[in-house]
């Protein structure tokens, strides 16, 4: 069943003329992991906001076309209908922290409190999610007295704890070190394996290649490509539109031009694929 259906979506923010998204159509099955790539300003965040209902219900502006999220028709819905189903992790964790709580523990409890969850159940969930996101030692700290990486984990935890059926993440690892990035991708992958639908805007192509099921590449508000990681991430049009590709793909493409990559083999997106191909050349 398609949990997300977007049809001919065109959207412009208030007092802007140029739409941030144009003619976007996209379906997503329940439990899929979709990565959204594109250069800055391509519309990645706007797409995330649309799926989470922030566009148009918080940002206003002009929306044409249809957006159905988990059976809810965005046009006739209220932001409230979304928050029960969709969780959005902001690009800048600072923008997400409520500002009304003194400790990380309370911050993570905020969403559950609003739902009126019983205290014991709440504590169980929070303890578990703090462990999963690796912030169990930060419970008593102020959400503002944290490093960028720690804050980003708190922002993630405060959404995961709500157990949304659709999880939207806008560059959730931008401030994390490589090990933190891996941990977050693994947490998200395991959520996806539990049937949670994932939509993630991300620049880190190497990670996207390893974890995502499908990729949508945006350029200037429009869908440039939509498909499997192998299809999308080896397309020459990404580079033409200023979208990064993995070093493996870039190096193999150059090697192919110099007869140093097997001409019949598809270009690699991952390390093991690159090793296999270049091994053929070296042998």
């Amino acid at each position: 069943m398609a949990i997300l259906e977007i049809r001919d979506l065109t959207y412009a923010y208030p007092v802007t003329e140029k739409p941030a998204l144009r003619n976007v159509s996209l379906d997503l099955e329940e439990g899929q992991f979709l990565a959204v790539i594109g250069s800055n300003g391509a519309g990645k965040s706007t797409l995330c906001y649309t799926i989470a209902g922030f566009v148009p219900h918080f940002f206003k502006g002009k929306l044409e076309g249809q957006v159905r999220v988990g059976g809810v028709d965005s046009e006739h819905a209220h932001l409230n209908d979304f928050v029960q189903k969709v969780g959005l992790v902001f690009q800048n964790p600072f923008n997400q922290i409520s500002g009304s709580k003194f400790t990380v523990y309370e911050e993570i409890a905020f969403g559950l409190e609003n739902r009126g969850m019983p205290r014991d159940e709440m504590k169980q969930r929070i303890d578990r999610i703090m462990e999963v996101t690796g912030i169990q030692d930060l419970g008593d700290r102020s959400p503002y007295a944290l490093s960028g990486g720690q804050q980003q984990r708190v922002a993630l935890a405060s959404i995961l704890v709500l157990q949304p059926s659709i999880l939207v993440l806008d560059e959730p690892t931008s401030q994390l070190d490589p090990i933190g990035t891996r941990e977050v991708f693994q947490v998200i992958k395991s959520m996806s394996q539990q049937g949670i639908t994932i939509i993630m805007a991300e620049h880190k192509i190497e990670w996207v290649a390893e974890f995502a099921d499908r990729i949508v590449a945006l350029a200037d508000g429009e869908i440039l490509m939509l498909g499997s990681p192998a299809e999308v991430l080896t397309s020459p049009s990404l580079t033409e539109h200023g979208i990064g590709i993995s070093r493996y793909t870039a190096t193999a493409r150059r090697a192919l031009n110099e007869d140093l990559w097997p001409s019949k083999r598809p270009l690699p997106v991952k390390l093991d694929e690159a090793i296999e191909g270049f091994r053929e050349i070296l042998s």
Partner: protein, 269 residues
């Protein structure tokens, strides 16, 4: 201009020891990348260079100045610091004002200010956006404004704190070009980053920090060869280094050019 850090200790109020005996020297014109896990002390270390933090113990010299005997304002003429988050440093109403502010404050002659402002705007791709309010620009471009406002101060030392975070391929390329340009002008550039591919391709010296200490410090290729220690610090080798190792190629690969050369003649050392 030389940087000398001697046995530096720093504890934050509240007692967390963030630096535990760091010593290092940076010669004029060096390109140095500092990597390590979140909480390793990278930002704490570089904030000593422009006096934002003062040593709890040990000393920091920038050229002939002991940072304890100079104000942040004085040190600003020697050390330019581009913050990780541009919103922490931007405050003017237009890009031009923002970029002019630094050199004006340093009381450079006005023709030199004009020249520096134009050069910085050109390097960061901001020509045509001079009159825009920085907050009307996307975060990517705000980062470029922050960078331009520091470049315009023409300091002998430039610190880039996580310059590639959240940037797309085109702006990462632009930042790499700026680093090359700074090197050409004889300036020292220190960067803190998690982007090891960016480090390997653009910097010559690599410092690995962990738990407030310098764990490794040396030429890029040499440090990337220490894969056991790197693994213990959770620093993943760059993609091309991993590819080279996976194929059993000799030496450590940092650049695409090196890799292609090795493919052509795999037998030679």
């Amino acid at each position: 201009m030389k940087i000398e850090i001697e046995d530096l200790y720093f504890s934050y109020p509240g007692g967390v020891e963030a630096l535990s005996g760091v010593s290092l020297k940076v010669e004029p014109g060096e390109l140095v990348a500092i990597v390590g896990q979140n909480g390793a002390g990278k930002t704490t270390l570089v904030r000593h260079l422009n006096g934002l933090l003062q040593p709890t113990r040990g000393g920091v010299h920038v050229g002939d100045w002991d940072t304890r005997q100079h104000t942040v304002a004085q040190l600003a003429s020697r050390v330019g610091y581009v913050f990780q988050n541009p919103d922490e440093q931007l405050f003017c109403r237009s890009v031009k004002d923002e970029v002019r502010f630094g050199p004006q404050n340093l009381k450079y002659p006005s023709d030199r200010i004009d020249e520096l402002v134009i050069k910085s705007l050109a390097l960061t791709g901001l020509i045509g956006k001079e009159n825009t309010n920085p907050y009307d620009l996307s975060p990517t471009w705000r980062k470029m404004v922050a960078l331009a406002s520091i470049l315009a101060m023409d300091t002998p030392i430039v610190i880039l704190d996580e310059p590639t975070t959240g940037q797309d391929a085109a702006s990462i390329l632009r930042i790499a070009e700026i680093v090359t340009e700074l090197k050409r002008d004889g300036k020292s550039v220190l960067t803190i980053t998690h982007d090891i591919d960016f480090c390997a391709e653009n910097f010559y010296r690599l410092i690995v920090m962990g738990k407030g200490k310098v764990l490794l410090d040396g030429p890029m290729h040499q440090i990337l060869a220490q894969d056991e220690i790197l693994k213990s610090t959770y620093v993943d080798p760059p993609q091309l280094t991993r590819l080279g190792l996976g194929l059993g190629l000799p030496g450590i690969v940092c650049h695409q050019d090196e890799f292609i050369d090795l493919l052509r003649r795999p037998e030679s050392p």
